[in-house]
């Protein structure tokens, strides 16, 4: 059956659930592209034959192959675009540096798209309201209190807070810190919000 490979690509993403990025299926894409090439070549031959020898009975199969081609194109575009959306979400979650295990699942072109997206977003955020801009990837949740209790999940080293105090973020240590300084570290999994 035609188009099975491309539908399989879509299923693969669908199975992963939201926000997860499976490894880039280069092989799957290549197989679909090969199928498309074969379909296209077959169609070229049939079109010529239909034209020169007036074989109108070939037209339905030409049309059928063309629909398969369109479907394959559509599915590949959907697969790639959906992956971009997931990668975009990662930028908002992890900040501009992605964890290695995620980068491992991306192809070179996706990396390039990500870098360009990062740049566009940074330019945009810098331009907000004149001088230094506003980081809108912060303040994701409405603030409830100024300081929150956090526990360190891994060694992170020294960390400076607004008034210049430097604290050492050591594994399993607990701190009482300004919320707006910790938000990103919490999302990165360095800190954990302790809710008593």
């Amino acid at each position: 059956m035609f188009c099975e490979k491309s539908v399989e690509l879509i299923r693969e993403l669908h199975r992963m659930g939201d926000g997860q990025l499976p490894a880039f299926n280069e092989d799957g894409i290549r197989q679909v592209l090969e199928e498309m090439k074969a379909l296209y070549e077959q169609n070229q031959t049939d079109v010529n034959e239909a034209k020169t020898e007036g074989k109108s009975e070939l037209i339905p199969s030409i049309k059928f192959r063309h629909s398969c081609l369109l479907r394959n194109q559509r599915c590949i575009a959907a697969y790639l675009y959906d992956r971009l959306l997931r990668i975009r979400a990662l930028r908002w979650e992890y900040g501009s540096v992605l964890p290695t295990n995620i980068r491992f699942h991306m192809c070179a072109e996706e990396m390039e798209w990500f870098n360009q997206y990062k740049k566009s977003l940074a330019t945009y955020m810098r331009s907000i309201g004149g001088e230094e801009g506003l980081d809108i990837t912060q303040d994701m949740k409405p603030p409830k209190s100024l300081y929150i209790e956090v526990r360190c999940l891994k060694d992170h080293g020294e960390f400076e807070i607004d008034d210049g105090t430097v604290i050492l973020l050591k594994k399993n240590s607990q701190h009482f810190l300004p919320r707006w300084k910790c938000e990103q570290l919490i999302r990165q999994g360095v800190l954990e919000h302790v809710i008593s």
């Binding site: 498309m36 798209w113 566009s120 309201g129 919320r179």
Partner: protein, 217 residues
Amino acid sequence: MSDHSELSGGEEELMTPAELISRLEEAWLNEKFSPELLENKSELVECVMEQLTHMEENLQRVRKGDLKASVHRMEIDRIRFVLSSFLRSRLKKIEKFFPHVLEKEKSRADGDPSFLSPEEFAFAKEYLANTEVYLRAVALKHMPPNLQSVDMMKAVPEPCLDSFVFLRVKEKQENILVEPETDEQREYVVDLDEGSQHLMRYRTIAPLVASGAVQLI
């Protein structure tokens, strides 16, 4: 806020900080609940940013450990959250509907209010170019010659203007034409009283949201 210095509200009138913040909140809720991108509020954003900087500066002068300081700090955080959330929901819609947003901006008549701020416009253009380059590099250029382009306008969904929104009426409206939802229904008109709340299709009241006569909630 304790500071009552007046900020200029662009071409129109002078605004107190309290008015400024309530304007921001209105814009934020409208943007959050409307399915399509609304008119940009660059001026408002700029004023709020100025106000925030101003408040930060004031805060520097306050003695450490002063109770007032933490109350003000909280206020700053809250305003910054609303502002960020507002800009985020705009950016999200721009990314979601980028070809349509750009098309709308390009086909806009001179003098009509623009939906995108210059910065958002630049962002949307880069996003479109970036995505097109990516699709071409990975797959499209390896496809048969007649299939090497994707019509973004068709491939990317449009905002659904028929979705329902909750709204509160700020200025009394008469004879609002509600179009039928199904074939059996007929169109009818309603009056919207000031202060009343409704659940209606966005398409019907979109002009009222734009003019500020109703508030999405």
